[in-house]
Chain length 339, copies 2
DNA sequence: AAAACTTATGCACACGTGTTCATATAGAGG
DNA sequence: CCTCTATATGAACACGTGTGCATAAGTTTT
């Protein structure tokens, strides 16, 4: 009974050899038919492509990426919580830009905590690069990338280490712009509603705030920590405004917290914005310009950020040993209805 | 002059052979040291892992995935525009769930148009599965997946074809719930603010709306098309409310459009919500519950949806030839402040 | 003591591709 | 006619891994 059908769970994927057999050519020819500028008879190539299309064949990207010189075309993106609109919007841009240049983004969602094992695990792939959005960067990840010679591009903070490129908004300048705008509106009792105090972005924004307030001859009424989320901003603002009712302006470390602060101030504490309380955010997420929201904020230009990330990526792929680059993007005050 | 240093652009990634050489063992041993339950001397394994850690070695996932039986652990996710909050929030959940079971999500952002070439291109990888979020599904993609035997899981619409699993909200029922709630509030001149009319979700929600209105003995005042975006909802609502000032309720095909409609109604047309105009959305995105928003809407349970997607995925990986499954999730009316 | 079984280990193969190498054919130019 | 160049083609190798196979050693059972 030689009726031994080889049962494979995964039904045999069409391979170049299959196409070659069916088209009556060598396997090399099939590979060449899919390679731009290779020596293949024009008519023969057409026939091969026809057969390939019929069979539904396409070159296995894993096998192709295994080749020494070729790149895997995989790029890992480690992002923060996507419910945070800034991260979502910037991710969308990155994904589109990457696919446009033939790279495939493998996305890791950090959420609030750092997915150490995940980030470490994805390094099993010979990534063309890794893009780290904001947050704290675990040291061992940096170490791994360095050992594996995987280019690391950090956005949202500056990391001054060899082989690591960074692009980040000039946070201190942004804070200064916000404080200036608030003072121009006659505000004098300004508080800072911060994010996680251990993040570089918060440290810089906080420092910029304190410096600017001091430079104006004022002193900050209060400071609070949050977690860059709507709910966190709401809770922190509640505590802040209850303990210090004299506050007449809130500068928030990002837009989500600003919206949370606005919610608690207007819906719960009976304040009116901007009459009895000014609020300024940071980032300029898409909804900040909605008429019903109209949030005054500091623009953290996402298009520019992503453009720079892509530029750094291209440069790094071109020359892995080039000195690390650091880019600061320019913030801008966007006057709307809450200040 | 035999000083021929082999110059490779990509600095040689550490390989199992390197570890084997340095640890004085065979390459097989290295592989086994990283394989759970393989026969290796306990002490030997420890030594190998130590050397591997020192060298920064980890098994190349590409080579591993090339193995016949093993899976690549790559899962493609095709999503809509992430500025659309529903897509962003559901993507975040999927990414987290997938990484939790050791799958790596390759994300394609459809944006408004269908990235035909991209979707086709990612099929070069021997994907474990492909998850398609909403929208229209190009037929040739379905065809390709079928030929390549790549499991396809569609969310946001039902696709009744062999080997394709679907999970989708019971849209008609959701619309009926919305209409009921509006009628209970005394509304009689209800209009439908739809999304792209060629999408299944819009067709079903529209049908559910029309049926429910008719069942209540009313007739719909008007219908309009949008594009599921805030701006689209705003523009459509402006046209709708201007042409039909008698409208006293808007049922919108998703939350983003509902918020756009609210913006134009209150900020531009002098209507008050809900006093002179009721608005009900669909999806229940995170911000719908913000006190400043308080959008009455139909919950399209994301946790349940993702749970079901993961369940279908597991089942499909377990048995590729199982009959296709279809899941309808139950919608729920969430009463807040806009109806 | 013999047999059966568990553990350990290296060799060799398979995965599917891109590409080098050698070889062959054809055309052009002297 | 000979040489040189451009084009075409198949065999063979390399990429890095997991694992089947054969073999050896150690342990338990009969």
């Amino acid at each position: 009974m030689p009726r031994q059908v080889p049962v494979s769970l995964r039904p045999h994927r069409i391979t170049a050899a299959d196409v070659a057999r069916k088209a009556g050519v060598s396997r090399s020819a099939v590979s060449r038919a899919f390679t731009e500028g290779a020596y293949v008879d024009k008519e023969k190539r057409a026939r091969i492509l026809k057969v390939a299309a019929d069979l539904g064949y396409r070159p296995n990207a894993l096998a192709a990426g295994l080749q020494g010189k070729g790149r895997s075309n995989l790029v890992a993106i480690v992002t923060g919580d996507l419910v945070n609109h800034y991260d979502g919007e910037i991710l969308a841009r990155m994904v589109r830009q990457l696919t446009a240049i033939g790279k495939w983004p493998v996305v890791l969602n950090a959420g609030d905590e750092i997915p150490d094992a995940d980030v470490s695990g994805v390094l099993g792939f010979p990534l063309d690069a890794m893009i780290l959005r904001g947050g704290s960067v675990p040291d061992d990840v940096v170490e791994h990338c360095a050992k594996l010679k995987i280019p690391l591009i950090v956005s949202g903070r500056i990391l001054d280490r060899p082989g690591i490129d960074s692009v980040c908004c000039d946070n201190e300048r942004g804070s200064a712009l916000a404080v200036e705008a608030l003072i121009a509106r006659g505000r004098r009792r300004i508080a800072y509603l911060g994010g996680q105090a251990d993040l570089t972005s918060d440290r810089e924004r906080r420092k910029g705030f304190l410096d600017a307030v001091q430079a104006a001859g004022l002193s900050p009424v209060a400071q609070a920590d949050g977690d860059y989320s709507f709910d966190g901003g709401l809770a922190s603002a509640r505590a802040l405004l209850t303990a210090h009712p004299e506050i007449d302006a809130l500068f928030c470390a990002n837009d989500a917290m600003a919206l949370g602060a606005q919610a608690v101030a207007t819906c719960e504490l009976g304040r009116t914005v901007p009459e009895s309380l000014s609020i300024v955010g940071f980032d300029d997420i898409a909804m900040a310009r909605w008429p019903t929201i109209a949030l005054s904020t500091i623009r953290n230009d996402m298009d520019m950020t992503v453009t720079q990330i892509m530029r750094l990526l291209a440069a790094r792929l071109d020359d892995p040993d080039a000195p690390p680059q650091t880019v600061r993007t320019e913030p801008e005050f966007i006057a709307r209805g809450t200040h």
